[in-house]
């Protein structure tokens, strides 16, 4: 029997020049906090390489540990196999060097601040830095919900490449993505983003540029009102949630939903929208503010409106629920 040879594959390309480039083979993420990590998993799961930028090696190490925990939780809840976890991790690369964003077809900005004003400045600075290191046709996207993408795009030399892609990361199984085009976003970029969303197995819901889009703008006042009803003693949190789930068929009631999204995030949304629209319905409720000040942010801190164990299961759930 002849010896089996091993050779590099590129020698056998039919024509290297004519080789079509995959629409999306590498995606960058700046900031690997919860949002960045969730996007990294979402993208890598679909076979696309991910490179994420963090400020230090410690933060990169921490991000990988957290991604590993998130994937283990998905395995525990039957959503993934260990083989898929290995494949996902093998496609994610962390670095402190922005230059490694070179070659990415799209870069997500996923850094967040405590206020809208700081956030705008932050995102603008990230957009500028990213543009300095990527190819001329790389799309630069923000996952921000309440920031206007046209405003942020003004700092770019090529504002046509900016877009806002809002994944509903608190519901990773959600089949839809809200996308906001900037005033100057080019048709080519729109087409590519349509392709990416399709590659990620989701449906694109286009939203005219408007802080809060559809989801945050509708859900935040609902949570605000639920807080008010609770404080007025109209009903308990459980029964308010029950009314909305069992009565109106929502998958989660406002309090359970708020815990899943994160109370700090909702507060940021409300403050941003109140600042933008000036409507009192967006004025953040005092109960929400208290919870955030006490660092009771929802499932991620194991306590928000309800309490949770480390697997995300609710504690002290009344039997009727």
């Amino acid at each position: 029997m002849k010896e089996v040879k091993t050779e590099p594959i590129f020698k056998y390309a039919l024509s290297k020049d004519a080789r079509p480039k995959a629409a999306f083979s590498k995606i960058g993420i700046v900031g690997c906090g919860k949002v960045g990590r969730d996007i990294a998993i979402l993208v890598s799961r679909r076979g696309i390489d991910v490179v994420f930028i963090e400020l230090s090696e410690e933060k990169i190490k921490y991000a990988f540990e957290q991604i590993s925990i998130d994937l283990d939780n998905m395995i525990d809840r039957w959503g993934m196999t260990t083989g898929e976890k290995r494949a996902i991790l093998s496609r994610i690369h962390g670095t402190v060097r922005c230059i490694e964003l070179s070659g990415c077809e799209l870069v997500f900005e996923a850094v967040r601040s405590k206020s809208k004003k700081a956030d705008v400045e932050h995102v603008e600075s990230v957009f500028k830095k990213v543009e300095a290191h990527v190819d001329k046709d790389t799309i630069i996207a923000t996952n921000a919900t309440i920031l206007g993408v046209s405003e942020i795009a003004t700092v770019l030399q090529v504002p046509e490449r900016a877009v806002s892609i809002h994944f509903l990361l608190s519901s990773p199984d959600s089949p839809v993505v809200e996308v906001t085009w900037g005033v100057k976003t080019s048709e080519e970029v729109k087409e590519k983003v349509h392709t990416l969303v399709k590659l990620l197995g989701k449906k694109l819901i286009p939203v005219f540029e408007s802080p809060g889009g559809i989801s945050a703008r509708l859900v935040s006042p609902l949570i605000n009102d639920a807080c008010q009803m609770f404080l007025e003693g109209i009903s308990t949190m459980d029964d308010i949630d029950n009314m909305m789930t069992r009565g109106l068929g929502l998958r989660q009631g406002p309090f359970a939903m708020a815990d899943k999204i994160g109370l700090d995030k909702i507060l940021l949304w409300l403050d941003g929208m109140y600042h933008e629209y000036g409507d009192l319905k967006y004025k953040s409720h005092i109960l929400l503010k208290h919870k955030v000040r006490a660092n009771e942010l929802g499932r991620k801190t194991l306590k928000g409106f309800y309490e949770y164990d480390e697997h995300g299961h609710r504690l002290n759930k009344p039997k009727c629920c």
């Binding site: 050779e7 594959i9 056998y12 076979g47 196999t81």
Partner: protein, 400 residues
């Protein structure tokens, strides 16, 4: 005439280059881990030359490009130029009710295949990727689609319908379609050739036992029932798929485990079957080793596996009014001696007498493993789905 057969999976491409007139496989291979690190292409030529090519293979299009590159290469090639490929045959998993035989692929056919995607969201998209890639790379070469479901389109309504509201069948096409059609067709015909009997007069039960597994009841050359259903999850216990399970149990699990539809899908497709019961592996060889080492759950998995096969054989014997031939094929059917023995145990009442001593010696070779006196002939026939695809492609292209 050279025919390239492609079987595109989610992250792999299996291929064979046939010289169909002489029934020779000139080269065959596997592109593995597409879109992942550690991707490779293994090509084996019929003269024993074998090469493993390593490097980035970002998608199916690139993978197929490399396949064509190695097939025409000076060092490891089997043909001099791409023009020597006369036709391409594709395995397509789901053809719904639209396709009851293999077809020449036209733009209209592609549109119809795209409409079948929602019935096989894991399998049909990679099959289509292969078709798109070949259309771009070899636009002048005819391409044919051979469907896993087509052979079972002869099932009567009382066999293919679920007892769900009839409106769901009319609205969404919810029914049993069956899979592994090319394999069931090939081994049943081949058995008749070997036995020298008329295919159109036999009652045959074919057991395709691979990582996915299905059994078919074939009456006078037509599939009349099969164990896989709307999707390849139904029927026998498989490597990681659950097979038959109470639908009520699934909604109960969703409530108890607080899991979503997607998580349930992964649970029944990837965490269940032999792997789920044994907790060891989905690979029967590893399960066999573990059982020998005294692992009770591995032994339980083997017992359950054989029991389910036996249950279906009994059931299809009832459907057919007895059986003339029972065939084992697929990686497990061709090699797992104990599974064959245990699933045929105590079937003497229906005329099955296994030659146990002979059975123990048969691995992936065409053999009659029943005794000479057995009324039912039991056979091991290695499957050859690629040959079926190549032959169908040849027949379609030749008749143009």
């Amino acid at each position: 005439m050279n025919i390239l057969v492609l079987n595109c999976g989610s992250s792999s491409i299996k291929y064979q280059l046939f010289d169909i007139k002489n029934k020779i496989v000139k080269a065959k291979g596997l592109v593995d881990k597409i879109g992942m690190q550690g991707a490779s292409l293994t090509n084996s030529r019929n003269d024993g030359d074998k090469v493993i090519l390593e490097g980035e293979i970002i998608d199916h299009q690139i993978g197929i490009e490399y396949v064509l590159g190695v097939l025409t290469s000076e060092e490891h090639g089997s043909i001099n130029e791409l023009a020597e490929i006369n036709a391409v045959g594709h395995r397509v998993v789901h053809g719904a009710e639209k396709f009851n035989s293999s077809v020449l692929i036209t733009n209209d056919v592609i549109t119809q295949m795209e409409n079948c995607v929602e019935l096989a969201p894991l399998h049909n998209p990679p099959n289509l990727k292969g078709i798109y890639a070949m259309k771009q790379l070899l636009p002048e070469v005819p391409q044919c689609g051979v469907f896993d479901t087509a052979f079972h389109q002869t099932m009567p309504a009382h066999s293919y319908l679920y007892a769900l509201p009839y409106s769901l069948y009319k609205k969404h096409g919810i029914r049993r379609y069956g899979f592994h059609g090319a394999s069931h067709r090939y081994v049943s015909k081949r058995a008749c050739e070997i036995l020298g009997v008329n295919y159109n007069e036999q009652k045959i039960i074919t057991c395709h036992l691979g990582n996915g597994a299905s059994i078919a009841a074939i009456d006078k050359g037509k599939s009349v029932d099969t164990s896989m259903g709307l999707t390849p999850v139904e029927g026998l216990m498989m490597g990681t798929r659950v097979g038959d399970v109470d639908a009520g149990a699934l909604t109960f699990i969703m409530g108890k485990e607080e899991i979503s539809y997607n998580q349930l899908n992964t649970l029944v497709n990837k965490h269940s079957g032999v792997l789920g019961i044994s907790g060891v592996s989905s690979d029967m060889r590893e399960i066999g080793e573990a059982a020998k080492d005294g692992n009770d759950r591995a032994k339980l998995a083997l017992d359950m596996y054989a029991y389910r096969v036996k249950k279906y054989i009994g059931s299809y014997s009832a459907v057919l009014g007895g059986a003339d031939i029972i065939i084992f094929t697929g990686g497990i059917g061709e090699n797992a001696v104990d599974i064959r023995e245990n699933s045929l145990n105590n079937l003497e009442y229906m005329g099955v007498e296994l030659n146990s001593e002979l059975n123990k010696t048969v691995y992936s070779t065409e053999t009659i493993i029943s005794t000479d006196n057995s009324r039912v002939k039991v056979m091991v026939i290695p499957t050859n789905e690629e040959l079926v695809i190549a032959q169908d492609t040849f027949d379609i292209v030749s008749s143009k």
